[in-house]
């Protein structure tokens, strides 16, 4: 299946060094995941599998990376071959994966559901591969993201929408940290819609978490840089349990 991400693997990998990811998103997510020793983990929408690699390095017993973008998976596979981490990388989430995982991590996946049906389908896919009691951590577009497109430019992003907080509305995501300038199409889903889709899929608890800036981040970028972002984060972090 062709994907708008097929030709963005190099860029996606490099976003890990952008300050908002390096000092805020990534440490927040990894701290939230905690000890992964012995866990079976799925990186749902893994892209270049950066989180998959980190989760494996943090002790996860088995890590599967799933993505529909062949371009992203090609990068992930080559890197895994070189580093020998032994990830399992797949473009198909077959029924063989049902109830196989203790944890599903889905970073920037839900914003690419274009309809309510697609949103529900993705949530159900995330639920069916988890064992009962398993955990999902996912990062959608923040329901209260700042509507001014330039608000996130200091962080290398623009979120452009004609109707910023309309359920199912298109949000153009510009990745504009020089030298990059790339647009991808995403969709906005309200907190209520996301909560209902997740609960309908079988998640009994849905908790919205807050970002934490790393100590290094405060030192490197300064308080003002983070104050603006933390007031109106562009992404949310949702922590769910399958019933």
């Amino acid at each position: 299946m062709d994907s708008q991400f097929d030709d963005l693997a190099g860029l996606y990998e490099r976003t890990a060094s952008w300050p908002f990811r390096k000092y805020l998103e990534i440490p927040t997510v990894l701290n939230l995941l905690g000890d992964l020793s012995g866990r079976r983990v799925l990186d749902f929408g893994c892209g270049t599998a950066m989180y998959a690699r980190w989760m494996k390095a943090r002790g996860a017993q088995h890590v599967v990376g799933f993505d529909v973008s062949e371009g992203m998976l090609a990068y992930a596979r080559r890197r895994d071959e070189r580093e020998g981490l032994g990830l399992e990388l797949t473009s198909e989430l077959t029924s063989a994966f049902d109830r196989q995982f203790d944890l599903v991590l889905a970073v920037y996946v839900l914003p690419y559901a274009g309809t309510r049906d697609e949103l529900q389908e993705i949530c159900q896919d995330m639920a069916r591969v988890l064992r009962p009691g398993g955990r999902l951590v996912t990062l959608p577009i923040h329901p209260d993201f700042a509507p001014a497109p330039s608000y996130y430019e200091p962080y290398g992003l623009r979120l452009v929408s004609d109707d910023p907080h309309a359920d199912g509305g298109i949000v153009r995501l510009d990745l504009c940290q020089p030298p990059y300038d790339v647009q991808v199409s995403a969709y906005y889903w309200s907190a209520d819609t996301l909560d209902r889709a997740l609960r309908f899929a079988g998640f009994s608890s849905v908790i919205w978490r807050t970002h934490q800036v790393s100590d290094e981040g405060w030192t490197e970028m300064g308080g003002e840089f983070w104050r603006r972002y933390l007031e109106r984060p562009h992404a949310a972090i949702v922590d769910c349990r399958r019933g």
Binding site: D2, D6, G10, G71, Y180
Partner: protein, 408 residues
């Protein structure tokens, strides 16, 4: 008939090309979507980003292999296409060879009128007998191929070459590329042997064969052991490389190659520095006294195992089928044991490999004349049909389905 090698040991030698000076600014271009540049060597490529564009079958285009050639033979340029999100495609460049052999166009197409005696710009890794065009998958693939070929033609013009040739392309890939450039033509000129590696390894492969073939191969394997050989699988450590260089040089000397032990040592040293030797496995035939009678060196890339070098000490009687055991039977076992799905057996000794179950796949040259003079389409069609018919005649039950793309 063009030079289709059907006998003899694998040859993998390289000859240093004359350094080529390109004014990157003159051939470079920028537009809204794709930027074309010429890098002075593969060392400027990001390993993971470039290798993600390289197919499993196109190992000799990976950054590690290209960098090892640069290290051993001097730098060669790489044409790259970049988008606003990163690398999109590209192709290594070199000059071909001026002497008769595997990389000398006048030997290829004697029945098709063309400027085959002129100087060309070659695409692909130096002396690779399998070349594809590394390209991003998905919706931009066709446009990127078009831009890469157009840029290669401009570079050829800049260098006063008669055409661009990318030889030893899998036929399907050559036709895909030709579809992106209306002036390109595709000419069959070789074939390669490929052995699928079933999950059950060598035993599963043998079990799937006819009784006659199975009995013969088991006899060959038995002879290998009966002659006092023991197979050893090992990474290519410095000590293994030293021994392999000597054995490979012996085999090359037998086939009148001037590239001796020192040459192979240099090649392995360069591969170690580039990191590509980490992907290599040596399968050695070891005698009771610990001496190696033969070695095969192969490289893992994705889910393919690329069999590249064979060397043998001919002071040991050569009646133990060591070539087939090391270069054919045991690589299948090795590949299957590591989840690989195919062994790429190159273009030599096709007859013997086909008789041991290998599939024979078509290789073609993609040719783009710099002055856009059309090559006689009827002559091309006639040549391709004749070539395909010849291969069908040689390997009647072993030709892959891809041949039907031209056989008609």
């Amino acid at each position: 008939m063009p030079p289709l090698s059907i006998a003899g040991a694998d040859e993998g030698a390289s000859v240093a090309a004359d350094p080529v000076v390109v004014n990157a600014a003159a051939v470079g271009e920028v537009d809204a979507d794709v930027r074309m540049d010429v890098l002075p060597s593969a060392s400027a490529l990001d390993t993971d980003e470039w290798d993600a564009l390289v197919a499993d079958e196109d190992f000799f285009h990976c950054r590690g292999w290209l960098a090892s050639l640069d290290d051993a033979l001097g730098p060669a340029e790489v044409l790259v296409a970049s988008g606003r999100g990163g690398l999109l495609g590209g192709c290594a460049l070199w000059d071909g060879e001026q002497t008769s052999g595997l990389f000398h166009l006048p030997d290829f197409f004697r029945d098709v009128p063309g400027p085959w005696g002129d100087a060309f710009l070659w695409g692909g890794a130096r002396r690779s007998t399998h070349t594809e065009l590394p390209t991003v998958p998905g919706r931009r693939r066709h446009a990127v191929l078009r831009r890469v070929l157009a840029a290669a033609r401009r570079i050829a013009i800049e260098k006063d070459r008669a055409c661009v040739v990318i030889a030893y392309m899998p036929l399907r890939r050559a036709l895909e590329a030709a579809d992106a450039d209306e002036h390109a033509c595709v000419l069959l000129h070789s074939a390669e042997a490929v052995q699928p590696a079933p999950a059950g390894g060598l035993q599963a492969m043998l079990a799937s064969w006819r009784t006659h073939d199975r009995v013969r191969s088991k006899a060959e394997l038995a002879a290998f052991g009966r002659c006092g050989n023991r197979a050893v699988f090992t990474p290519v450590t410095p000590a293994v490389a030293e021994s392999a260089a000597r054995l490979i040089a012996d085999t090359r000397a037998k086939h009148h190659s001037v590239q001796g032990e020192e040459w192979m040592r240099r090649i392995f040293d360069s591969q170690r520095r580039s990191g590509v030797l980490d992907a290599a496995v040596a399968i050695a035939a070891v005698r009771a006294d610990g001496r190696s009678s033969a070695v095969c060196v192969s490289y893992r890339f994705g889910r393919a195992l690329h069999v590249r070098y064979f060397g043998s000490d001919y002071s040991f009687l050569d009646n133990d089928f060591r070539y087939f055991v090391l270069c054919y039977y045991l690589p299948v076992d090795y590949a299957a044991g590591r989840g690989l799905t195919q062994c790429r057996l190159a273009t030599s000794a096709l007859d013997a490999k086909a008789r041991r179950g290998a599939s024979i796949e078509p290789l073609a040259a993609l040719v783009l004349l710099t002055d856009r003079t059309p090559i006689d389409a009827e002559a091309v069609d006639r040549h391709n049909r004749r070539f395909a018919a010849y291969v069908h005649q040689q390997f009647p039950s072993r030709v892959s389905g891809e041949w039907s793309l031209v056989a008609g």
